[in-house]
């Protein structure tokens, strides 16, 4: 009796504790967080309002997230190979990653930028830079795929890139690391003698139609050997100009941490690209021999072409007066951002507590009145006082980068004080500040660097995560935070972890992209030379073995994939030493029915083939045997049955080349 009484009591206590726990945990979510949850919750089956594109930093890719939910939707492979879908491994995509240094499987992506029309993101493409081996990629937003990559010659540390002009006339690139141009093995300590920088303008072909050969290097401006850091191009009145921050105007080559932080002011380089066009038209550019690669996907075949270029047009400021000016800016500035109206230029004076805002109008006046404080290699230095609109006093510690909302306010990220500060760039008055967790790098407002910000949200991209998520060992994700900027005061809404290390980002209303996104590739339009569009065609083409005079043999296997089999799925007659190419065409035309292909012992990856697409995986069998291949994507109820075998025989074996499916069998003559 007693025992039962105790049991009852214990149960009662548990019940009360349980209910209490429920009540308590609900109460724990304060009103503030309940409001935030309502603002960021996207119910099942509904879509986010914005696409956000966050660079992946050292993962070399772009992460596509939905806002306001912060959900990761997709990683678009750009400069790094992606075994998940075969990007950079398939025969079709390999060439995208070709450079003058050969095939490069990795890079560091920093600054994505959407294509623009009249200074407003238009949702056609997004560009992104490779920092390490200088390149710029273009991603088509009808496919969310990298379709073009151009290498930048005479460059190192392609950091102030890939910023576009207001109508995407150009996409820009510049050197964070100065180098000898052309390259030569100078003693490093003779830095001042050999160090040169370049500002590169890449012409973009904006014509309609499905072609991917759109980028070409128009010219490179040869500039003094500083470290050029970030950029943005003008719009409205400042259209025709692009601005590049620089640090290390001390020209240190060692211990830059100290040696490049000595001067009170470094420079923003203002480049008048319309003036450059005039000089080039007058024949003032010089052709220079160099080597770089231009790679792009042929939309008809889906195969990347790789073209080697050997010449670039170089312009020097001395030969083209008026093409460039230096705007003194404190101190080792990072970001340079132009207000939506195009009137003010804000330098993120990283090591200064005061944020300088330059006036474009004053800059033009100072140029007209020749208010110069000196000149470096043909580039006049404008007087700081002549161009300064105002300084935002005591902005914060470590101001890095600024974006704008639709009401004319500016928001600057502050790395050291770990906060975002809101101010009015016209009056230089601080309005609000909000702490972020922890150590923000860039921030981003949808359209916030364009002529038309959609000023509803701001995301802070933070470098340090520490305790924000469940711990995952010493290596932690980076962290983003969503902030509501629709009101007078900024409000924290949401934390979400990010892939790689997002540096900069872009976002655009989903309605500008969604209607153009493809669901499948049209099989009918597939002009891949190794495509087989029906099972009959696959059985007819089957397997082809070609040997050269040295006895080296290539085997081409033509396969279709459809729910739930490959045609053919039994292959015999392949020999050790052969190089085998599996050309797999996904002959589905249904939305979201990819098929994968993997073969035992492949040293590359699997390939993930979209409906209507043909991809090729190379395989070099090492030993005789019977090897399975299978579909890697759970395509259907009988996905597990979607498999086949290939028989590999010794080099000298007398096995006929045959292929079959069910009771259909064919052999090579």
């Amino acid at each position: 009796m007693k025992g039962r009484g105790l049991k009852k009591l214990a149960l009662a206590i548990f019940a009360v504790a349980g209910v209490g726990g429920l009540v308590f945990s609900k109460a724990k979510l304060s009103k503030e967080w309940q409001d935030a949850a309502l603002k960021t919750y996207v119910p099942p089956g509904e879509h986010d309002e914005f696409y956000a594109f966050l660079s992946g930093g050292f993962n070399g890719q772009i992460g596509v997230y939905g806002l306001p939910s912060g959900r990761l939707i997709k990683i678009v492979p750009v400069f790094s190979v992606n075994p998940e879908n075969g990007y950079g491994y398939s025969e079709e995509t390999k060439n995208l990653l070709m450079t003058s240094h050969g095939f490069i499987p990795w890079d560091d992506t920093h600054h994505p930028q959407l294509s623009q029309t009249n200074g407003v993101p238009d949702g056609r493409w997004i560009f992104i830079n490779a920092n390490n081996t200088p390149r710029i990629a273009r991603i088509d937003l009808s496919e969310f795929r990298t379709v073009e990559i151009i290498e930048i010659p005479n460059s190192a540390g392609n950091h102030p890139s890939s910023f576009v002009t207001a109508n995407t006339e150009y996409v820009t690139a510049a050197t964070r690391f100065s180098i000898p141009i052309p390259q030569k093995d100078y003693p490093i300590e003779e830095y001042k003698k050999w160090a040169k920088g370049t500002i590169t303008f890449i012409k973009v072909d904006n014509s309609e139609g499905e072609h991917n050969n759109r980028m070409s290097i128009a010219f490179q401006l040869l500039v003094p050997g500083y470290d050029y850091d970030l950029a943005h191009c003008g719009k409205g009145p400042s259209h025709g100009w692009c601005f590049f921050t620089s640090y290390n105007t001390e020209q240190a080559h060692t211990l830059l941490e100290i040696n490049a932080s000595q001067r009170d002011k470094d420079f923003i380089l203002a480049v008048n690209w319309k003036r450059a066009e005039e000089c080039i038209a007058q024949g003032k550019g010089k052709k220079m021999e160099t080597v770089y690669y231009h790679n792009y996907i042929d939309p008809e075949t889906g195969i990347a072409k790789s073209e080697k270029k050997t010449e670039v047009l170089v312009l020097t400021p001395k030969e083209c007066p008026g093409v460039a000016y230096y705007l003194p800016t404190p101190k080792s500035p990072h970001g340079v951002d132009v207000t939506p109206d195009g009137k003010y230029i804000i330098g993120g004076g990283k090591l200064s507590i005061n944020q300088p805002i330059h006036s474009f109008e004053k800059m033009i006046k100072a140029i007209q009145n020749k208010e110069f404080a000196g000149e470096i290699e043909g580039i006049p230095i404008l007087k700081y006082e002549s161009i300064l609109h105002c300084e935002v006093k005591n902005l914060c510690l470590g101001p890095l980068h600024t974006e704008f909302d639709d009401k004319g306010y500016a928001y600057t990220s502050c790395f050291i004080s770990s906060e975002v500060v809101k101010y009015d760039p016209k009056t230089c008055k601080i309005l609000d500040r909000i702490p972020v967790y922890y150590s923000i790098g860039h921030l981003m407002i949808p359209g916030g660097d364009s002529a038309k910000p959609w000023g509803k949200y701001l995301i802070a991209m933070n470098k340090i995560t520490k305790d924000r998520y469940l711990p995952t060992g010493p290596e932690l994700p980076h962290a983003a935070q969503l902030i509501d900027i629709s009101g007078e005061k900024m409000k924290m809404l949401l934390d979400f972890p990010t892939q790689g290390e997002p540096h900069y980002a872009q976002a655009i209303p989903a309605s500008l992209v969604k209607p153009k996104v493809k669901k499948i590739y049209e099989l009918e339009k597939n002009k891949h030379p190794h495509a087989v569009k029906t099972e009959e065609e696959a059985m007819k083409r089957g397997v082809v073995r070609k040997c050269d005079s040295n006895g080296k043999c290539e085997v081409h296997i033509y396969l279709t994939a459809i729910r739930s089999h490959f045609t053919p799925d039994n292959i015999e007659g392949v020999k050790v030493g052969d190089t085998v190419y599996f050309h797999v065409t996904n002959i589905e035309q249904d939305w979201d029915i990819p098929h994968g292909f993997a073969i035992f012992g492949a040293k590359n990856s699997n390939i993930l083939i979209m409906p209507g697409e043909t991809l090729t995986l190379k395989w070099t069998p090492q030993k005789p045997g019977v090897y399975p291949f299978y579909c890697t994507d759970f395509c259907s109820a009988l996905h597990q049955e979607m498999q086949g075998y290939i028989r590999v025989s010794p080099k000298d074996a007398d096995v006929k080349l045959c292929w079959s499916l069910g009771d259909q069998k064919r052999c090579a003559e």
Binding site: I520, I562, R563, E588, Q589, D590, W591, S636, A637, L638, E641
Partner: protein, 200 residues
């Protein structure tokens, strides 16, 4: 008066004939399929002379799905009715116009009754095709439900495994029905006509 149609009746039967032209421009029947993984629906139109997908690849995709349960491929080229149907409608158009021109009551009666018989037969034939698609299943199909049959509905919606199949007449059929109503109206007007000479 005897066996001649009144001008209004002739106008009606002429209109009825011309309305039938609609069947050449619009599908007769519409079959839709929904499943959890097909929130966008798959759709199929039955025309006077062919079967098409609502979206470019719908028919292809329906056939891919059908192969799991062993349904035979839906291939408009092997349906003889689709070769004959255009001529049957052409017959009713021409015949109807002849009725209008000649104004013969007897011909109108033939037109109306033959059209009704044709309509019943066409629907029965459609049902027969559906029956065969739903029951003649490949014995080697990977998915076999004992006693399972997948006959789509003639009218309305029906659950077939994971798919909800809905079947409705489409615009072409409405043209045909409207045509029949006009023709039938012309035909029955004779029964309701006022006795002549009543006013005298």
């Amino acid at each position: 008066m005897g066996d001649k149609l009144r001008p209004f009746q002739r106008l009606l039967i002429a209109l009825a004939s011309l309305l039938l032209l609609g069947v050449y421009f619009f599908p007769l029947w519409y079959i839709k399929l929904w499943a959890p993984q097909y929130p966008e629906w798959l759709g199929m139109f039955i025309w006077v002379n062919t079967i098409t997908g609502e979206n470019p690849h719908d028919l292809y995709n329906i056939n891919i799905l059908n192969h799991y349960i062993g349904m035979q491929e839906i291939n408009p080229d092997i349906v003889p009715e689709l070769k004959i149907l255009p001529f049957i409608f052409a017959f009713f158009i021409i015949f109807g116009l002849i009725v209008a021109i000649t104004g013969k009551k007897k011909l109108l009666k033939i037109w109306v009754w033959s059209f009704i018989i044709f309509g019943v037969l066409a629907i029965a034939d459609f049902w027969w095709w559906e029956y065969r698609y739903g029951h003649n299943l490949d014995p080697r199909a990977p998915i076999k439900i004992p006693g399972g049959a997948y006959q789509p509905p003639l009218l309305g919606c029906k659950q077939l495994l994971n798919f909800k199949a809905c079947s409705f007449p489409a615009r072409g059929a409405y043209f045909a029905v409207a045509s029949l109503i006009l023709g039938f109206t012309a035909y029955i007007m004779d029964f309701f006509k006022k006795p002549e000479g009543r006013l005298t």
